[in-house]
Symmetry: D4
Subunit: 255 residues, 8 copies
């Protein structure tokens, strides 16, 4: 600890980084950032942009880059992403930027950040165009946790031939995240055809009774297959759960 404090005194280590190492979290203007989350629970801490100002997100993102080498911001608009990126670049001009505009995910990586790399592949499957946002969020999280992502899109059950054409691909993945809105039947149909563990991701894309994703959620919970489920639109959770399974597989393969 003495060493760390001397490094702080010498300006080699920022106070935030030191606090994060010592206490597991770093305190800033916009609240506390849980820097130890990844070590403890295997899932990187992400910053949910919903309901935060650009200034708050920037502050948290800067702390994240400084303490863990990387900031992941979800549900972020294009304007806010630009603002955050600009300000973070003022202090960390060499930080790498990856921005998936459709999925609303912004990732900033410090130059020295070593991304994890897992020997495991997660399939991300969608029924239709309106599943793109949560599926994209799930894919981004999987990638940040180090697994390979393979997408299979537009294979909704209303035209089941498109799905049957791609069964081999689905069977080859280690885990599948299957997103679907409206009646949410796709994960059930896939789970009847392959022996891959599947995480159902219900999407809010309908209207009328059950159109807020409720029909898809209850349909997946009622599925007579071995499906586990996350909340409506919870791409981050689906991706993180898949990432944890990928980590276990990578460890098993490394033995």
């Amino acid at each position: 600890m003495r060493e760390l404090l001397e490094a702080v005194a010498a300006g080699e280590v920022s106070p935030a980084e030191a606090e994060a190492e010592l206490a597991g979290y770093a305190t800033g203007d916009a609240g506390r950032f849980d820097a130890a989350r990844e070590t403890r629970s295997g899932v990187p801490e992400a910053i949910l942009a919903d309901g935060k100002t650009a200034a708050e997100i920037t502050a948290l993102a800067t702390t994240a880059v400084e303490t863990t080498g990387r900031a992941i911001v979800t549900r972020v608009s294009e304007e806010t992403a630009a603002t955050v990126t600009g300000t973070v670049h003022e202090h960390h001009p060499d930080a790498a930027v990856a921005h998936d505009e459709r999925a609303g995910v912004l990732v900033l990586r410090a130059a020295a950040f070593e991304a994890p790399d897992l020997d495991a592949t997660v399939g991300v499957v969608t029924a239709g165009t309106s599943d793109a946002v949560p599926a994209g969020e799930a894919a981004a999280v999987v990638r940040e946790m180090g697994a390979t992502v393979e997408r299979v899109d537009d294979v909704g059950v209303a035209g089941i031939a498109r799905l049957l054409d791609r069964l081999d691909e689905l069977r080859d993945r280690d885990v599948l995240i299957v997103a679907a809105g409206r009646e949410g039947a796709l994960p059930t149909v896939v789970a009847g055809l392959v022996d891959t563990p599947i995480i159902g991701l219900p999407v809010s894309s309908g209207y009328g009774h059950g159109g807020d994703g409720g029909a898809a959620l209850s349909g997946m919970l009622q599925s007579c297959t071995a499906l586990s489920v996350v909340n409506i639109g919870a791409g981050f959770t689906a991706g993180a759960q898949a990432g944890l399974i990928a980590r276990r597989l990578d460890a098993a393969r490394a033995d």
Copy 2:
């Protein structure tokens, strides 16, 4: 009318039958029986056994046989069916009996009753064993309205090959009633594969969230295919709607 009243006076026509012909309904101890329903709306009046005593059902069934030549009793237990049949037979010893025990449907037909006969076929499809009761009720109603019924059972989406094997059969029907519980995905998958009009029949066969048929109902209402739907377990309604379509097709074919 004079003629009718003279026939009553002569004992050739029962008062109930005469009242039914004149007023459209017959009044008895257990309430009023809507004898003109079939003429007016194309659907035979049925007696829902739920919440009625055997005596009430018997009274209504007797009135039905006397005024329309036929009684249809739904959701009836085996004991009650036996009691009703026994008592009706006391007055109408030559009435024919058809009793589907599994579906809980009892039909009594007077000797002189001429059953309708339509040139149309309705397919009744189930996902699994627990759909048998409402599907059987639907089938019984279709038959009583005069159409031919063809069953396709146990083709749930968890093993989709069983369904694909029988597509030609499904395409050949004039209308399909597709029953499914739990997540209720079967009607959607079928509707994506055939151009037959489909009536979705949600079944209460799960447990937990949405297990009372609510997940199946909302899933069918959210379906992105051209499905119409009836209430949870409403086999009678599904059968009657299919029967009305069959009547129109029969008329068209007769031209």
Copy 3:
């Protein structure tokens, strides 16, 4: 297939049209368009404008015109309809345009498109002014599937004389779509009076408890008549189901 590819090479057939014929769908910037839907399930593929940008709708509409000869866009605002029409006209200057502004339905037909023409009539009935949008959407779909549409408007149950005046008209239709908001009683009352198959279309037009269409939906599901139902505001589904029945009747009449 050789022939088709040569036609592509010769510029006589567009790549999208060829892909659609071979694979059943065409892939573009805005996702995949299910060009074979009509052949397979009898219902033309429509583009739901809700939640899509004008550019995405234009791309999908262009693909639709090129592969199936027709684009149907639903729930489209006047501005977007103008933009889409303008851009499609750049490539297909002779495409015919039909735009029902109140119902928010835009139809574009290539010059060579042969519209289906069925010998069947669908009645579209409304309880009041606020049912106009979903009823108009239903009517548009019925027309695009080739059946004749007859409207009966403003016959809500609060003034039942208006309905009784038009019973003969309602009895003459092959199928009825009956739209109603608030308590949704109209389809039940009509179904008690005529022997036409009826599809109930619940509308979201109230306020307070059940005012989002929920009261109308549950009322139609509880109806003691032979009603089938679609989701709240699901004009497209109601129209497509009626269209499928009309196709069957047309085939029967053609025999």
Copy 4:
């Protein structure tokens, strides 16, 4: 007060009756009976049998007869009614008994009880047989409050001619209580045809979605007519509200 206490001392007035007169309520083994309710709020206190033992009901009924001259017991089974009647008769052998078995209402009146008599008529209307219980409860309360009850039964909207036949009767009543289960449309249809104030009484008589009376309740609340509503199965409340209106009319006519 002195006089009253002397009457108690002399055994001419029971302690319960005296307590009721002084305090407005009488206390017994089974709780407190609100003897002053009728004076204060115009509605006689009734004993809801649900969830009480026969002993408790008997105790409360005895107190009621002693303090107000009458006991009204609702939702009472035939067995319990017999027990209660027997025990009350031990102390009050000349008490008159009125027992509506179908509606589950038992009324016991002391010999000296003077029933109220109002110059007003309340119509009680039902859609079908399953509405009989709450409608009967409503009718019993109206009668105990002194108004005349006229019943119009089995006029459900699925066969609207039966209703139209009896419009004049409905117009002649001072208030209407209209009971209906399933989709609950009857009060709306009646309210569109007559200018009588109508209280909607939703009944739990269906199954599936909304079958617990929820569809009928929300349908009546959504009605576009001037309907007021009571809770599902709340016959007592409907009858009491109609009784209060009848009291006002009686007073107006007496002027």
Copy 5:
């Protein structure tokens, strides 16, 4: 009828007025106006501004003034009210205007209109400021039906002394409309104290669980007093029901 048509030909009677007299409704650009509603059901037809354009409201209001002598517009914003008033005044410069801005009710009366005048008084009671809008709507309807309105405001149950101070006033009314939001207890407390018929009017004025008026509605439906209820915010319905009772009382007093 001949006479009427001659009056039309002579320009003495407008075509709309003639159609209304003959058919019971008048047809215009914005739909059909139910001109005979007041005669038939005792309640004047009102124009709900929600979801209509100013042009549509103006058209309906003009028809209303021409056929029934009066237009009642509810839930109308100040801007729209001004526009409607201006345009109606172009054709009917001497029409009288009554505009309750807080309650959002606009009434226009032709010079020749004879307002009804009933010998009956309706009390309109509120728990707090947020009940003002539906209570004001209810009061406006009562007034247009001809009864006298007396307001008792700000007597919520959290400070019950304010209510007890005004009991005599409440007892003197012929009917009470009692509005309350949040837990909706006020109508129950009042109904325990007076013998006036009470219509509960639940208001949406809270937040969190039940804050959309649902807690107030279910509380009023559960009340152990003789309360009838209308939907959340349904001031028009409450007022119309009270008005119908007032009409009956007026007739009784006139005898």
Copy 6:
């Protein structure tokens, strides 16, 4: 610890009691009993009889008596209470028994048990007879935690005079638990009149919409007074919360 183990060896302390002291819980056949709960969280551990067999309850009760000197069993039927008491008495013949049959609470105290005694009084208030069970459960817990209980029963809001008569009593209590079913207005009315902290206890005692206690719960949550609330029927929780407040007051008074 040495001492404790020696006592076990000497048979002076039971193994269960020793395990409880060392580990905070005791393990038996029927699961683990949280013997340290009272020390840690101030609330005695209770055994919920619902869903457990008499044998399981007896085992847990015996462990409780042995480790903490007292067993509290809630929601227990009379038969089970007798069985449990009998068996516990076999091993602890001098254990004192307190059984509130109406509230379903059984308390067994070892001879050496020293009951807590707090200088604080909790008022338990009910609206009517049907609130007796959860109110009795709450009272029992308060007593076991050592505070004095004062009951005020049958003061429902439908007859508010009964409540106003007893205001001084309510003001004198340190905390109030106010139970109410149906519309649940009583706690709100009381909280508007006194400055005592109040815990609302909703009761399931109605029928129809909101009759399962849901109306009472949402009404208490919507109350505009300073009420906190427990779940429907959660007498134990209400009593425990009141007991914790009483403990703090007792400590303050002891200073």
Copy 7:
């Protein structure tokens, strides 16, 4: 009273202040202000800004300052707070202002106002940043009632070490208000560890099923610890309940 009226005549006491003293409330343009609430129920009257105009809030705040010496405005935006403060300062230039912008609470105190001061400490605990608004509102109310507030922030259950570090602090408080959104588990975990009375404050901070605070509310109601609960986001209620307990403790300590 004579004295008071003479003081009004002499201009020493404002009419509002006099009315408040005599009647318990003061009437202004924006409704009635319950000036006696604090005396009667121990909780200061607050002005909920939601749904009121700046003018109305200013009027009520001025009345509050004049009659009770203090105005508390909750859920107020920064702009409105500035307007209100400006206008109140015109008449009361020496009024002290306390504005918590994050919690949206504005407090204005007349120069002569004597703030209450209690010998009691309330802990306000949050799981994360999104709990800040209701927690801040709760803290403000506690402070205005005179108790000391201690905050413990960002101790959500996903990183339970942060919570365990601060247990002693939590044990030392007299009452705890524990705010939590999403699954709302924090109050349960804390209540298992300390013997302080805890008020659970559910927060609306999620998305999907249960994301409006419903999951947190039902989780707290289901807690197996001795938790009482307020509505979603009801910081005022939680603070007021804690304040009432603090008042009792202060009185006990003063003895």
Copy 8:
């Protein structure tokens, strides 16, 4: 295939077994048994006893033993389990029986059946006694799929020390199934402490609002950790999903 049919002819292979091998399913009196499910989707077909008669279960179990070598019956009562076991033993006297009475799971294995054996360990964790049934069902499925099960029981969040004591154990598992009723917080707390993939299993063990497992389900769906979830009480699904992950890990370790 020739070979197979010859074996049938020779009586070496039963017709059921042959049909299962050829068609993937075997048809019997009680419906169709999906014998190929394990091959196709990795999950053994189980027979849900709920809603089936002992005869039906026996028929399906016999088919299962004959075609797949093993029958798994879930939610089976002790009586039915005895009946089924007895009858199956008549034909297969050497079948091994494993019956977990508490979890209601019965497994019958033919003598020749080779159970799968995976190099993977699944932890099954419960909060309390009432979680035993679904947790036991989950454990049984995991075992039948070949993984090792380790139980950690009674570590509910109300006494968090019990959980912290066993963290290392939890970290060592490959997957965790965490069951919890009431507020369902346990999986969230565990997921914040370990990096193992966790499947939340909500249990119906409360009463009042959310007591049917709804609070636990919504709490787990709202968890801010990387949890996936199955339906309320769906032990089979949780076990099967864990089993599929175990299969993947076993394969990875075998490489």
